[in-house]
Every structure is written in C-alpha cells, then in structure tokens.
Assembly symmetry: D2
Homo-oligomer: 151 residues x 4
Amino acid sequence: MSTISRDLNVYGFSTEIRVRLSETDAVGIVFFGSFAVYFDVGRMDYLAHLGLHRFDGAIRDLIPGAVVAQEGCFHSPARYNDILVMHTRIAHIGNSSYTFHFMATNKRSRELVATGKLTLCWLDEDFSPVRIPEAFREVVRKFEGPLLTTA
Amino acid sequence: MSTISRDLNVYGFSTEIRVRLSETDAVGIVFFGSFAVYFDVGRMDYLAHLGLHRFDGAIRDLIPGAVVAQEGCFHSPARYNDILVMHTRIAHIGNSSYTFHFMATNKRSRELVATGKLTLCWLDEDFSPVRIPEAFREVVRKFEGPLLTTA
Amino acid sequence: MSTISRDLNVYGFSTEIRVRLSETDAVGIVFFGSFAVYFDVGRMDYLAHLGLHRFDGAIRDLIPGAVVAQEGCFHSPARYNDILVMHTRIAHIGNSSYTFHFMATNKRSRELVATGKLTLCWLDEDFSPVRIPEAFREVVRKFEGPLLTTA
Amino acid sequence: MSTISRDLNVYGFSTEIRVRLSETDAVGIVFFGSFAVYFDVGRMDYLAHLGLHRFDGAIRDLIPGAVVAQEGCFHSPARYNDILVMHTRIAHIGNSSYTFHFMATNKRSRELVATGKLTLCWLDEDFSPVRIPEAFREVVRKFEGPLLTTA
C-alpha cells in the first residue's frame, strides 16, 4: 500500500479537533495514544460527510467495518488547546478491506503534527470478511476520484 | 447518605492501580477524570471478589447496574507510576440503587489521594428501575456486615 | 452550595460535544467517566470564551485552578455520534475556590443527559490555596450577573 | 525493521492487563485505540523490570524517549474483563531510536489478540535526537541477547 501523502491537495476532507487537557500527558504534550482517537474522529466525520455512516450505524448488530490495523507517525508535539486539522481520505478500497490516510497539521503554526493509517475490514455477523458493498464503493470512488486505488 | 469514611477498618476490600502515563495530563499529575476510571476498577474488582460479576456479566442484554451518580474529592495529587490503593466498600443498598464508597491512598507515601462515590441503579431491559435481587443483597450484607445501611 | 439548575436561562454559555466511539463502552452507551472529560471541555471553552484562559495557560509553572471536587448525575444515556450541548456557568466564587455548574442536553432529542459540578482551587507554586485574583472575579461577575454567589 | 514475531520464546518479558469497561466501546469489544495504552503499559513495565525507568523518570525536564511511531494489528477482539498478556521486547536499538515489539494474547483462550510496535527517539532538552546512552544499551543487550539488532 502506498505511503501517506503530505500533499494537501490529495485530501478532500478535513475536520478540526481541539486538544483537551485529558489527552495530554505528564510529558506536557499530547499522549501518542490520543492520536488513535483523533484518527477515529477523522474517520467518523469523513463517513458522516459522505452520508456513509448509515453503513456504520448498526453498532451492535452488524459490524461493517472493524479496525484491523493502525499506524501513526508523530512529527512534532501537539499541546493543550492546540487546534489540529485532521486531513482525511480513503486511499484504497480492496475486496473486503479499505484504508484511511490521515495528516494532522497544527492550525496556528501550520506544522505537520502526525500522519496515520487505519485499515478496516468489512465483516458479516459471524465476523467473517465479506466484499465491501458496491454502494459504499461508488460513493467513495466519486469523492476520491482517480487517486483512489482499488482491487 | 453518609459521608465517605477515611477509616481503613471500614473498607473490607482494596485493589491496586498503577498510574499510567495516559492517565496524567500536562499539569504533570493524574487528570481528575481518570479517577472515574479508577473508581470503576474498584467497583469491578470488588464485584469479582465477591463473585457478583455474573450479575454484571450480560453487558449488552440486561443492564443490572447503571451508574446514575458519581462524586470525587481530590485531596493530594497522584503522579505517573504511583501505586494507588483503592479501598472499596458498598456503603448502602436501597430498593433499586446501591452506593459504593472509595478511598484511594498512595501506597508509598500513605497519603490520602482521593475519595469518591458511585451510585448504581438496577434496571430491567426497558431501563426501568427494579428491586435489587435478594441474592445480591445477601452476599453484600454478609461481606459488609453491620456497617451496611439498607432500605 | 446550591443545587444545579435545570433552567436554561441560567446558563450564559454552551458548547457542543459530539460523542466519539472511544467514549462509549460495551454497555452501548457513553461511559459515565467520559462526562468528567465533557465537563472539562465545558470549563475550557467557557474560560476561553471569556478570555480567561491566560489564567489557565501556564500549565506547568503555576497552577491557578486545580480541580478539587467533581460531581455528576446521569439522567439519560447518550450514544455514539450524539451531539451534547454542554451548558456551563460559574455559579459561585469563594475566597480561593470557585465552582462550575453543567447541564448537558441531547441536541436532537432535547432530553436532559447529565448535570455536574467542578470545584477548582486557586493555588500558588507551593500548592497552597491563595485568594482568586480580582481581575478573574471581575470578568466572571460581569458575565454571570446577579446569579453568581460570592464569598 | 523486522516483522513482529509471534514466537513466545522471543519475548523475555510479559505483563498482564485486565480490560476495563472504559476501554471497550459500543461495538462491544475493546476500542482499537486502547491498545496504544496497553502497549505503553508493556513499555513502562518492561523498563521498570530492567531498572531502566530512572532513564524515563525526569518526565518534565528531559525527554529521554519520545514515541515517534506506533503500529498495531488487531487479530481477534478482546472484551470487558479479559486478561491480556502483553509480551514485550526491545527488538532493535539504533543510534538515537529504539523499537519495542508487542504480542498480546488472551490469557484464558490463549488466542492472539494484537501485535504492535513502538519506536522511541532519545531527545535532549531541545528536542534534538541524541545517541542512546551506553548504559541503556548495555542493560537491554544483556536482557535481549543475540536477537537484539543494533546499529
């Protein structure tokens, strides 16, 4: 799978996250694990923006996309009350899995703060991978355009 | 309801919690909200100790005890890697609700760190309060002895 | 100290919080401890709104307001992706401590979700309580009007 | 850097983590982001076990090891009250960075739950990378033996 782009033009969606005190740690900066939550906010807001969270809605009964892999790189520290712009895209749709890419920048300083990936797998009720529905693919394909790789 | 006792003799159960980096904040000490989690660990470990977590087991289907109120007082700061001793008791069983009391001390310095309360309400599947089962009452009564107040 | 008002007119400030997946638990609703974080977001946003977060700024060196007590009551469950309106006020300023009141409502259903309190104590560098500065009092007094009680 | 081994013999250290309710989410399983915290507990306990947390002690003044990259793969779901065995090793020490590998198994079922990596960079007070001290290298080299790769 491709590396995470740092070209803003590649990201069609962004959402803002203000750092909470609870997300920092005694080192004085944002705890690295808080970025897993931030990436997830990017994911949730992206899906809602495209009207795709109905696919994500039946939290309990059906699990349409479970996170199977996650990566983060932390380039510069973020601090209490910083505003992070979480640039979000779906970079790849495979057969039963798809991958988000994230680039978080500091809204005031414009510095690169973090990059990351989330890979989700579409599951049926028995937790077996199934092919991602055509309707989901179609919406993402339209939004992401030719940069989206598929399989 | 009675105030939270600081007499160790009153607490029949304790459990240890080591402070994780993620639970501290940029002030350099444990974030006050982390104590809500610590109190919940005290609750979970107490119930397991008395074999009562079967009542707490069917997480999804039946909700036997939902937290309806929580209190915390923070007496001295806790820090990364500190070991907290969470002294835990059930102080009161009412008709459909019951109340935990907590006193957290620092294992090394023996200082009082925090006190707290959790009140839980026994609910049926429609989220309506129901009387706490006799079996639960009996086990708690035996363990807590005459200090337990009931209604 | 007074009870927490449920009259919207009493609250001069509100801020919106969308429930993240990480803030829910296996019961299927928001974990009660997440409200400690939500109350803290209310506090932070209130202080920033009044330009008072410079008092809150020197996170490490001076601790102008440490949380010494916290309360929460949970009236109805909140769920993933719900939007909570966190109505926030300072209800009382004492000599060295002051108290926030919170009322969280569900933006879509308008249901009451939770009420809460945070009491903060103004500390000097040796963690000793000091009188809250006049400048802070003045700004809060102007904003809260005659409903603010003082000591 | 090498892939994460699933051979238990490779891991010289393990620590147990019981899943807290706050670490699960509305899907009914552990939130993927909680594993960032679990990996950090593995790291902290490993360093304490080798007496290396003095290097990690001066939380505020000196930052000897900041997390610069993190990876996780989630193989099977973990649930409330599960006990995870976090097998932990340092797999690689470079010039200024070093890498932990983790393998989390379910203590009761022995199933593989997650694998992960944390890469830390040794920094001086100006946040510039510096060579990892010989004393730290020596202790890790002794403990990890010939499996440790260095640069």
